[in-house]
């Protein structure tokens, strides 16, 4: 579930308020968006992808807000990882992060060959 909005990184673009399909965030005029309904989070990681500032962190537990340590999250390298691996924003032209989705068919084929 959604755990954290890192205020030092947030640019108050408020895109997360718009894009969250579960309407987890509230707009706070003149301030940072608020994680108003964390338990409505469906753990889909979409907000992380759309956050160009890499300021949002969704935990792995889909049933509970666990409570995380901001410093640990910042040090983990996880902030912005899905957006980067997806080749969004500044990563779009980076050859390391080009969309390899087409390889899925090969992955299945190679698994069948193992059996």
């Amino acid at each position: 579930m959604i755990e954290l909005l890192v205020k030092e990184r947030c640019t108050q673009c408020n895109l997360c308020v718009a894009v969250c399909p579960s309407n987890v965030f509230d707009l706070a005029p003149g301030g940072f968006p608020v994680i108003a309904r964390p338990t409505d989070c469906q753990t889909c990681y979409m907000c992380e992808m759309y956050c160009a500032a890499d300021a949002l962190f969704v935990g792995s537990d889909c049933d509970n807000v666990e409570g995380v340590d901001e410093a640990a999250v910042l040090a983990s390298g996880q902030l912005g990882r899905i957006r980067r691996d997806s080749g969004w924003g500044e990563w779009a032209e980076d050859p390391r992060y080009q969309n390899q989705m087409w390889y899925m068919g090969e992955v299945f084929k190679r698994a069948r060959a193992l059996e």
Binding site: R81, D85, M104
Partner: protein, 517 residues
């Protein structure tokens, strides 16, 4: 209150809804889309890797693809409809190229069939916007409106961020609200609560194939991450951490469910070759982070797994469409994607990603086009009288009642329970239906909580009742529908089953009507 008129109203925000909006707008209609969430992130396509059934227009290749599917469709597939979706998908998917960067494989060829969900839905939104479609995000539809002649007049709902009601009169309405996963935690499915089924049935439409709602997908036990590919390299372990002896492919999930009824099941992905591990983040970027954030190495550690219920998402049941334009039994009301029954193209087993995606694209395109045609011929008729059709969860007989989430959890626990849903018997289904009928009775008298959740509670309860009624009535096992008390195929049931009704649910096969006649 926001009051609008539009030629075509699309309810939903996933891929079928987007393709419907595109087709209707390209046919010259003024189009409005309303979605519970956000068009681009809502629904199960946005979080997945939706492969599409993509077969070049070479007669032998097309015939072979259809024949291969028909052979495993358990007598419920229709080759003509399979051919239609293959052809439509082949023609339409590449038209997204100005908005979506299709993959290029190691041989330098463009690969159209395999797309990545977040980028695909982002591109679809951009295309929809480029065509001048009005999008209302965070604006769930709560009910349909109907003319006195029985045709659909529009819909009404609630803008949950603006805090106001909306009412939209339309010349035609497309329901592309997705399937129902019963709040199972399946990735991306929380907005897919069967709302379209409920609205359609309230308007007089019928459903088909609701018994085919027992598909499950493996995922880490703590997670929503139902991305199947990596599990092609899975080894499963029982509570004692010793490897489980499981059947290959077909039947494996059912065997896992049996094991899970006994105790915890663990897994590792140790068989995955190193080069695929290295490549995984750029194939499916969301698969590894849930493990990493929990300090799990899925290739070396044994992690607990669960089976997440797909309901009618990878199941096939949905609103019965009556013609090639995907019109339902109600004039002016069309259904597309997982909101519609997919039995014609999948048969009695799951369409997985690729056939379901081809169906969503194609049925969306056809429904959008047909809706635009109807609106052009008959106009919007916004000045004609119209009645609002929503009942359960919306218009209460009593002000108080059960809390909406309590209803949702009770219905969910019945609908997705492995023992009741995966290993069906008349006794278990009857017991569940008694409970669900009682729950429906309390829902119709009143639900506490916000109106959107209250309607979801009604839709989930109704969908569970339709599914289990159909499951009880199909007294055989066919495809994903497995009855422990009727283990074999019965040739008499090699046809579709129609379900409908709210207070009293009816279900029937064509052969029964013939017997009566």
């Amino acid at each position: 209150m926001l009051v609008l008129e539009t030629d075509v109203l699309i309810i939903g925000g996933g891929m079928a809804a987007a393709w419907a909006a595109i087709a209707a707008a390209e046919a010259g209609a003024a189009v409005t889309m309303v979605d519970k969430g956000y068009v681009g992130t809502s629904g199960v396509t946005a979080t997945a890797g939706p492969g599409h059934w993509f077969v070049p227009p070479v007669a032998e290749k097309r015939a072979a693809a259809v024949a291969q599917r028909q052979a495993i469709a358990f007598g419920l597939g229709e080759p003509a409809w399979m051919e239609r979706i293959i052809d439509q998908t082949w023609r339409t998917l590449p038209t997204l190229a100005p908005f979506y960067k299709f993959c290029v494989n190691d041989a330098g060829e463009t690969v159209y069939g395999a797309v990545r969900g977040p980028e695909y839905m982002r591109a679809l939104r951009q295309k929809v916007e480029s065509l001048g479609v009005r999008i209302l995000d965070h604006s769930p539809a709560l009910e349909l409106l109907r003319h006195t002649d029985g045709s659909v007049a529009g819909a009404a709902g609630y803008r949950r961020q603006a805090g106001e009601d909306w009412a939209i009169r339309a010349g035609a309405v497309v329901l592309a609200t997705g399937g129902c996963a019963f709040y199972s935690r399946l990735l991306g499915s929380q907005t897919n609560t069967g709302d379209g089924y409920l609205m359609a049935v309230e308007a007089g439409a019928e459903l088909s194939g609701m018994e085919f709602s027992s598909h499950y997908t493996i995922a880490p036990a703590f997670s929503t991450m139902a991305r199947g590919m990596s599990y092609a390299y899975a080894t499963y372990y029982g509570a004692d951490k010793k490897p489980l002896d499981l059947p290959k492919e077909a039947g494996r999930n059912r065997a896992l469910a049996r094991a899970m009824l006994e105790g915890p099941v663990y897994c590792d992905l140790g068989l995955m070759p190193q080069d695929i591990r290295d490549r995984l983040p750029t194939i499916s970027p969301n698969v590894l982070p849930p493990f990493e954030r929990r300090g799990i190495n899925p290739f070396t550690d044994k992690f607990p797994v669960t089976l997440l219920a797909e309901g009618t998402i990878r199941g096939m049941g949905g609103i019965k469409v009556e013609d090639e334009g995907c019109q339902t039994g109600v004039a002016g009301l069309y259904a597309a994607g997982d909101a519609a029954s997919r039995e014609r193209v999948t048969g009695a087993i799951s369409g997985g990603g690729s056939i379901n995606s081809a169906w969503a694209l194609s049925s969306g395109t056809w429904a959008g086009r047909a809706a635009a045609r109807r609106a052009r011929l008959l106009g919007v008729g916004g000045d004609r009288p119209a009645e609002a059709l929503g009942q359960a969860g919306l218009r209460a007989r009593r002000p108080a009642g059960l809390e909406a989430m309590e209803v949702i959890k009770t219905a969910r626990d019945e609908a997705i329970h492995y023992d009741r849903n995966y290993f069906r018997t008349a006794q278990k289904l009857t017991r569940s239906l008694n409970l669900l009928d009682g729950l429906w009775e309390s829902v119709t008298s009143g639900v506490q909580g916000d109106v959107v959740k209250a309607r979801e509670a009604a839709a989930i309860t109704a969908t569970a009742r339709w599914s289990f009624t159909a499951a009880l009535h199909r007294r055989e096992s066919r495809g994903m529908h497995a009855r422990m008390d009727f283990p074999g195929l019965n040739p008499a049931y090699a046809q579709r089953q129609i379900v409908g009704g709210l207070g009293r649910i009816h279900s029937s096969f064509a052969f029964e009507k013939e017997l009566v006649a």
